[in-house]
């Protein structure tokens, strides 16, 4: 099926979006990795252990489906390997991303022994850098994907342990969170020095800090100060735009997220738990809103269900003052029916036009 002709190409559309100028239509922002591997016939793990194949698989798939952004390298368990633990690549039939197998912190003493990783050699970072060098030559935005402070902390010593220590040994959690925040800044600094700050687009994924786990007060006390600090330091490097991906139940944290600087403008990407209208109300004056199509619906829902979800998001998103991008609420599962991915682009054609 053909789409209506676009007045802008992807590059023009994204440039206009970030410069606050009029667009022809809502951009389609990708969040699919294992899906791309399957699309071109690779095992899923190549997305994480073979940067060149990962880049190629994503670029081909993103072109095929009409996404308005380039490939990226990253996964939600970030932090385990980089701080000295071990991860396992996805090899089983029901796995989609690397998983932690050994946490770097098992005991209170381990927290004292924890040191900031060498950003040039630690864990996945050499592969991420190799990937970014491909982004640089593409050309496509040079992204670096990191966990947020709480998500990294959970990957360093398990979310359960962080939760228990928050109430029993808060000083340990403060130390881990501070190291996570410092590490985030260290990595972005390295990327900025390598590619130039103007070219670098950090993506910070902070799903674990949702109200599925934390109370808003715990978020405010433990997470929020580190988000503020690391964001301000990153923007202080000369970075123009950051993306915060905050899937999960974040509704009670929204007023705090609204205070986290993400750039001029930043992008704030939401899961299906946060209505696009609520996202705009809280964050929409300072950031581009992205989201929030349920990965479960994409994987298991009918095309009509996906289409209706996209329609709802688009009709609300068109009113976002800094712009809106239609995006999956989290990673598109590898076994998602391809037609459901196509439906996102189709819905933009039908309901996402500004002109």
């Amino acid at each position: 099926m053909s789409f209506k002709p676009d007045r802008m190409n992807t590059k023009e559309r994204m440039k206009a979006l970030f410069e606050g100028r009029a667009l022809d239509r809502v951009p389609l922002y990708p969040f699919l990795l294992g899906f791309c591997a399957r699309n071109v016939g690779h095992p899923i793990q190549v997305m994480y252990d073979a940067p060149a194949k990962s880049f190629d698989a994503q670029q081909r798939t993103l072109d095929q489906y009409g996404f308005d952004w380039g490939p990226m390298y990253g996964y939600a368990s970030y932090g385990t390997w980089e701080f000295g633990g071990e991860i396992k690549m996805p090899t089983g039939g029901f796995e989609q991303a690397p998983m932690h197998t050994v946490f770097p912190v098992e005991s209170e003493e381990d927290v004292e022994r924890l040191r900031l990783p060498d950003v040039k050699t630690a864990g996945s970072l050499p592969r991420a850098m190799e990937f970014s060098r491909l982004q640089e030559t593409a050309p496509t935005p040079v992204t670096v994907v990191l966990g947020g402070p709480f998500t990294i902390a959970g990957n360093v010593c398990s979310v359960e342990k962080v939760c228990r220590w928050m109430l029993k040994k808060p000083e340990l959690v403060h130390r881990i969170l501070q190291m996570a925040a410092d590490h985030i800044v260290d990595v972005v600094t390295y990327w900025s020095q390598t590619f130039g700050a103007q070219r670098v687009f950090p993506q910070i994924w902070e799903p674990s800090a949702s109200n599925d786990i934390l109370s808003p007060k715990q978020f405010e006390r433990f997470v929020f100060p580190r988000l503020l600090e690391s964001s301000m330091k990153i923007l202080g490097l000369g970075i123009n735009h950051m993306l915060y991906h905050i899937c999960g139940e974040q509704n009670k944290n929204l007023s705090l997220w609204a205070q986290v600087p993400m750039g001029a403008p930043g992008i704030c990407s939401f899961g299906q738990e946060v209505d696009i209208g609520a996202a705009i109300d809280h964050v929409g004056t300072s950031s581009i809103i992205a989201g929030n199509i349920s990965p479960s619906a994409l994987q298991s829902g009918s095309p009509e269900t996906v289409y209706d979800l996209c329609k709802d998001a688009l009709l609300k998103g068109l009113k976002a003052p800094r712009g809106f991008m239609l995006m999956p609420g989290c990673e598109v599962p590898p076994s998602t029916p391809p037609h459901n991915v196509y439906v996102m682009r189709k819905a933009i054609d039908d309901f996402g036009r500004y002109e």
């Binding site: 089983g92 029901f94 939760c163 786990i213 934390l214 109370s215 994987q299 076994s335």
Partner: protein
């Protein structure tokens, strides 16, 4: 015979210790209850389990979140470790038996662990297979223990698909098996499509749903 006033004081102490996630206090009150001759089963149900009921209400009202739940659970188990060896065999019969686990491909087990706590607090016997459990193992264990319910969970959208397969495998082995499912990417519609008999949004509602499912079973 323990005076009613004193008994109330001890049970309140245990209940409050669980709610306030005070593990030391919980242990201390449970030991006191044994020393003063309270029945261990009654203390478990009216002290520890009642405390966990209150915790569940606080979670439902969003006054407690996962950190509090985990520590309340720790206090509960600290008390159970004291009382369990003293529960008379005629009281040891459970409300039901639950076979529980996180399906293959998924290592996220906080939710499953909280489900285990809530079921044990409610008087269920729980056989916990852990996380990233091969689907065959659910079938094999169910054949062995014939649990009243099998509970399956997943956090990731991809591993959620293992639930569908596990339900099919369990039903193929025993069409009468009852399967309760949960986890962030699921909802009641997906659970029904997967062939599950019940769905619960969280650990607290899982116990209620289990009660409903067991009642529906033919006598």
């Amino acid at each position: 015979m323990v005076p009613e006033q004193r008994k109330k004081e001890i049970l309140d102490g245990i209940r409050n210790a669980v709610v306030q996630y005070d593990e030391d206090q919980c242990v201390s009150w449970c030991m006191t209850s044994l020393q003063e001759g309270l029945d261990a089963y009654e203390t478990t149900m009216k002290g520890l389990a009642a405390g966990m009921d209150t915790v569940g209400e606080l979670y439902t009202r969003q006054e407690y979140f996962v950190p509090e739940l985990l520590l309340c659970s720790d206090a509960l188990y600290a008390g159970l470790n004291i009382l369990r060896p003293h529960i008379r065999p005629d009281h040891a019969a459970s409300k039901g038996k639950l076979l529980l686990g996180v399906v293959e491909g998924d290592i996220h087990d906080i939710g499953k662990n909280l489900v285990k706590t809530m079921f044990e607090a409610s008087g269920w016997q729980v056989v916990d297979l852990g996380k990233d459990v091969k689907l065959d193992r659910f079938v094999e264990e169910q054949k062995k223990i014939k649990a009243d319910l099998v509970g399956l969970s997943a956090l990731m959208t991809t591993s959620m698909m293992a639930i569908e397969k596990a339900v099919a495998m369990l039903k193929a082995a025993d069409p009468g098996v009852k399967v309760l499912v949960g986890g962030a990417p699921l909802n009641s519609e997906i659970a029904a499509n997967f062939g599950a008999d019940g769905y619960a949004e969280d650990a607290v509602s899982a116990v209620q749903e289990a009660g409903r499912m067991i009642k529906k079973q033919p006598v």
